[in-house]
Symmetry: C2
Amino acid sequence: MANVSIKDVAREAGVSIATVSRVFNKQGTVKRANKIRVEAVIKKLKFRPNVSAQRLAARHNNAVGLVIPRYSDIFHSFYALQILQGVGLAVERLKLDLLLHITNGNTFLNVSAVEGVIFSDIIGNEEQVDNVLQMDCPCVIMNYLTKDLPVSCVAIDNVNAARKATEYLIKLGHKRIATITGELKSQVAIDRLDGYIETLEKNKIEKKNNYVKYGDFGRDSAIRATKELIKLKTPPTAIFAASDEMAVGATQVAFESGINVPRGLSIIGFDDNPLALNFSPVSITTMRQPLHKMAMVATETLYDLITKKAKGNKKIILPCELIERNSCASPANR
Amino acid sequence: MANVSIKDVAREAGVSIATVSRVFNKQGTVKRANKIRVEAVIKKLKFRPNVSAQRLAARHNNAVGLVIPRYSDIFHSFYALQILQGVGLAVERLKLDLLLHITNGNTFLNVSAVEGVIFSDIIGNEEQVDNVLQMDCPCVIMNYLTKDLPVSCVAIDNVNAARKATEYLIKLGHKRIATITGELKSQVAIDRLDGYIETLEKNKIEKKNNYVKYGDFGRDSAIRATKELIKLKTPPTAIFAASDEMAVGATQVAFESGINVPRGLSIIGFDDNPLALNFSPVSITTMRQPLHKMAMVATETLYDLITKKAKGNKKIILPCELIERNSCASPANR
DNA sequence: CTGAAAGCGCTAACAA
DNA sequence: TTGTTAGCGCTTTCAG
């Protein structure tokens, strides 16, 4: 592999390795003629600096790690891909290398390969964060807001997004609004539920316990929940689902039960998963999370940390956006 | 960051750095007592070897690069994610680091950071392959079979898969079978078309030119194509679409035109994109590509190359699998 | 079984 | 403007 070293270039060009280094890194001053000669040799010999040596000598390596917890269902996969793309984009712009780490949480993260690490989420791998922090390694966490740890976090404003979703339903004229929550072990799900409850209270709509169904972000849980919901004596006229996957499940049940969406039942999801758009014959109204943006902001935040442009304890919260499609309407029996 | 070095450990344990190295890497022989002492110090000081130094000294770095061409539509994204997961899995099992490179094809790939590279596909970045090869860097290409270059390739048997799809339709009793091709600049699309044509011939079914519609893997192209198809005086009773995205588009058009799928029109897709499963009210029959497997095989192939267990010019072809769902049936007017 | 020492290829003082 | 040199932290002979 990369077998021509800086020495070879120096010899061939008749200068010292220091000069070659200077030319290559465009710093320091080099006589014009020498510079041209060295550049020619570099090109001729196809010299590429050995990254490990550079890193060792310069004590920094220009690489960041991205940790993605391992999970496989489509909902999370969509999430992971969006994150990856966002980070990938930012990293390229900032001329950073990206070391990817898909992990089940137990594996050790050797921080000396990178200058900083981004956690795409925290799911059973809090320990890794501790590790990284203890090594004094710059670090930012996405999608998980922690007040306890002195880490920078970039997350979505789930409470407010849920509020907006519920309010949208209320504005449409709904009063019987149910929700299907996500897995309540996750902060995200709790926040979305909170936003829903808050909004009901604020609008003086009684919160009925049997309108709150506990799901897990997955379709099956929503199918079960929706079946129960439509069997109620006074079934809801609208459902706020904490994920598009679940919104799709709910829509499916409605169809199968001969309930028209949105005329008989309005359904709003969360994520802006392409799934929600493609689901036919209605496309599902949803809250879009700026995942791309979150990933880019996280990367930039890390970059600032690494380059000492900023200190390490920012909490950044990004807003969601309502995407109106055609799974919501005013209730028929208003 | 990782500031405790092998020297610190050596001093603290009262041995030389060579001994520490031996203990840490579990090679060579060390007196039991020393070993235990060193291990204790390593733990106490939380010593983690500096990766760059290891790489520099050992002249290898245990990392592989994964190059993913940049594209953004859902079809390819699904592909990219599957590949990523597969490679991620394999890489973890093989204790390799993964350096991710999402590229538009122009960026330079510095090979000294890795021991080998995997191209997840070749789309406008043939030059990078040349680069890597010229550096004598082990390399495997996915989803693209090249006979010219001395590289290992892992790809899908698209011809045969298309054959199986078409045959399935024929067995169902169809004689009027149309196809919507993918972007014919790609080998994949050509192969799928070839498989279709071959099978028609083999079964003595006349190939009608107006049954072959040129698409680009995207939904819109399929919508256009399907509209033309159903307007024909003798419209097809079945369509083989070269992607699920297109199968979905075709199904959509059928619905909107009041054509029942599968009774009035059978549609088979390609990919096993979750899209095809979720598309309601029919879920779409498709050819599943073993993308995960392809990625894993590619990674293992690269590993063998790196570890010199194998030489560099294998061409591996993986079969597809028919996933029967409910978008295909015998033609109504048999 | 262990330590000394020679690099790995590069960067960054420092001196010239 | 340049070259010399001292590391960076580790692996790996090679003597002991």
